[in-house]
């Protein structure tokens, strides 16, 4: 029986008076890759932002490795081992690739920075050639790799990926999902928000489907793929 790493219980989050997440419950076990799918505006990104402490829950709880993090600060959440690669990549475009990586590991001892960066460059060889370039000059795919590498610099136990393939060329989309599969093979636990439902379900063990703030469906990725509602709404079968 795997340990639950992340447990979200009846979480509600508001944007002003709009309920973006409505009583959502979700679980990610250690070693699992869980996909969270749903259309635009379903509340997936809001859910991830709330896990990271960028937004606050109106009600419900988030617990991670046994401790309640519903009201914890983002830096504390990162220190506990949850890292997020945000939607739209959000690399620091005016800073170099290297500086972006240093910032990713800012909560860790400075002495480890060089070794950690070297590890990332082995994982993402393309970044090595770009190390001293400012991140804003990278292509979209390269920026996405940098964003993932930066998120990994904090040595997370749980990686939250928000739309990592959004806006990328097809070849880059393939590459990003290959990276996700590699990370999965290395045993990293991931919660993956994606609009690319095909790919997400290929990589995930389990999946949740979200609609207008609610989780409407959950189950093993294979079962979700063959659910008539998912086939109709997301897979265009």
């Amino acid at each position: 029986m795997p340990e639950p790493m992340l447990t979200i219980d009846s979480l509600s989050v508001f944007y002003g008076s709009i309920r973006a997440v409505d009583g959502a419950s979700l679980r990610v076990d250690a070693g699992e890759t869980v996909a969270l799918i749903g259309s635009n505006g379903a509340g997936k990104s809001t859910l991830l932002k709330t896990i990271s402490g960028l937004m606050r829950a109106r009600s419900g709880t988030i617990s991670y490795a046994g401790s309640d993090i519903t009201r914890a600060s983002t830096d504390r959440i990162v220190a506990l081992g949850i890292s997020q690669c945000p939607e739209g990549r959000r690399v620091f475009g005016r800073m170099t690739v290297r500086e972006n990586l240093v910032l990713g590991g800012i909560g860790r001892p400075a002495a480890d920075a060089d070794r950690d960066i070297e590890r990332m460059l082995e994982l993402f060889p393309r970044l090595r050639e770009r190390l001293t370039q400012s991140a804003g000059t990278l292509s979209g795919g390269e920026q996405q790799m940098l964003a993932i590498a930066r998120a990994l610099m904090s040595m997370p136990r749980l990686l939250l990926l928000d739309e990592p393939s959004l806006g990328l060329a097809p070849l880059m989309v393939e590459l990003v999902f290959r990276i996700i599969d590699d990370l999965k093979a290395q045993g990293l636990t991931m919660l993956l928000v994606e609009q690319n439902v095909h790919h997400a379900l290929d990589s995930a063990d389990r999946a949740y489907v979200m609609e207008t703030g609610r989780i409407i469906l959950e189950g093993p990725a294979e079962a979700i793929r063959h659910d008539p509602r998912v086939e109709q709404s997301y897979l265009g079968v």
């Binding site: 960028l54 937004m55 983002t74 830096d75 990162v78 959000r90 500086e99 910032l103 800012i106 909560g107």
Partner: protein
């Protein structure tokens, strides 16, 4: 004649260094909080008062300078904690109004302290002996204070550059300035970054205040108004929020300011025989010595043109990503 221009140039360099020390503080805080901290000039003023009152208490000059520096940094930190932190995340205008309130509180504190100590509103502020007089640099006679302002300004700004670009804390600062939510996702402790920014800005304001007051020769609770205005203009010219822009803007502003002073009445000091009498009269008519009093108008006209044609400043300060 050439010496004359050189002399004016050294004046500009000295004034520019003071503006730069102030402007960089404004830009630093703006880049991180989106706050135009109009209390910054009053922080500079309070530094001078701390120094003067330490002197009244019989404390020698070096410890007084230390009290000034540490005290001003502490006041900056308290200001951030009480007046700005609770308003963070609210409308930016609330922060701005709060900065005006802080400025009033600081000014009235200085006034009250003077009253209680039985001192006049205007307190004389003699330049220290070490910085009195002038030194000759080749053909030029430059006041020591100007040399000190330039050297201290340059060294401090260089140190700041090293800090911002080479240290982890400095990188965190840049990250917060560029994209706040992304910076938080890195695990950066934003409160700490904000505090360091206020500490640096206040420390620079204290040093600038000391040099400024030494040049002015006397102080009053409103002395911070002109410097913060100049710093604001410098930051706008350079591109608000950009540190290098603020420095560039500060020196540009200082050079702009000496232009009217330099050329007003220049006909009177033209060496005889360099131009024909007709041209001499023309110059005297176009550039009368009374022109010097239009110095500020000249600068503001430049500022308006700048805002019209390049509203983002020379180095184009960029808007930050703030949506989470």
């Amino acid at each position: 004649m050439f010496d004359y221009f050189l002399q004016q140039g050294t004046n500009a360099l000295s004034a520019g260094s003071l503006y730069a020390m102030m402007a960089v503080g404004l830009a630093l805080i703006f880049s991180i909080l989106r706050l135009i901290n109009f209390a910054h000039g009053d922080v500079m003023m309070i530094a001078v008062y701390l120094f003067v009152f330490a002197g009244f208490a019989g404390i020698p000059i070096l410890p007084s300078l230390l009290i000034m520096l540490v005290g001003t940094i502490l006041i900056g930190l308290v200001m951030e904690r009480i007046a700005y932190r609770p308003l963070r995340g609210g409308p930016e205008v609330a922060l701005l109004l709060s900065s005006f309130a802080v400025g009033q509180i600081l000014q009235n504190s200085a006034l009250l302290a003077s009253r209680l100590a039985g001192k006049p509103v205007q307190i004389s502020f003699p330049a220290p002996e070490l910085l009195s007089g002038a030194i000759s640099l080749g053909p030029l006679l430059v006041p020591k204070l100007n040399v000190a302002s330039f050297l201290i300004g340059t060294v401090l700004l260089a140190l700041l550059t090293v800090f911002v670009t080479r240290t982890r804390l400095g990188l965190s600062m840049q990250a917060v300035a560029e994209d706040l939510p992304a910076a938080r996702l890195m695990g950066i402790k934003v409160n700490r970054v904000v505090m360091v920014a206020f500490a640096i800005a206040s420390g620079l304001a204290a040093v600038a205040g000391y040099l400024y007051a030494s040049q002015a020769g006397q102080i009053n609770p409103e002395l911070g108004f002109t410097p913060v205005l100049k710093a604001f203009i410098a930051a706008v010219i350079g591109g608000f929020g950009s540190l290098s822009g603020a420095v560039l803007g500060a020196y540009l502003l200082a050079f702009l300011e000496v232009i009217p002073t330099t050329f007003a009445g220049i006909a009177d000091i033209l060496p005889p025989g360099t131009v024909s009498p007709g041209v001499h009269d023309l110059i005297a008519q176009v550039l009368p010595s009374s022109l010097a009093s239009y110095r500020d108008a000249f600068v503001f006209v430049f500022l308006i043109l700048m805002l019209l044609f390049r509203p983002n400043g020379i180095l184009r300060g960029r808007a930050r990503e703030d949506t989470p």
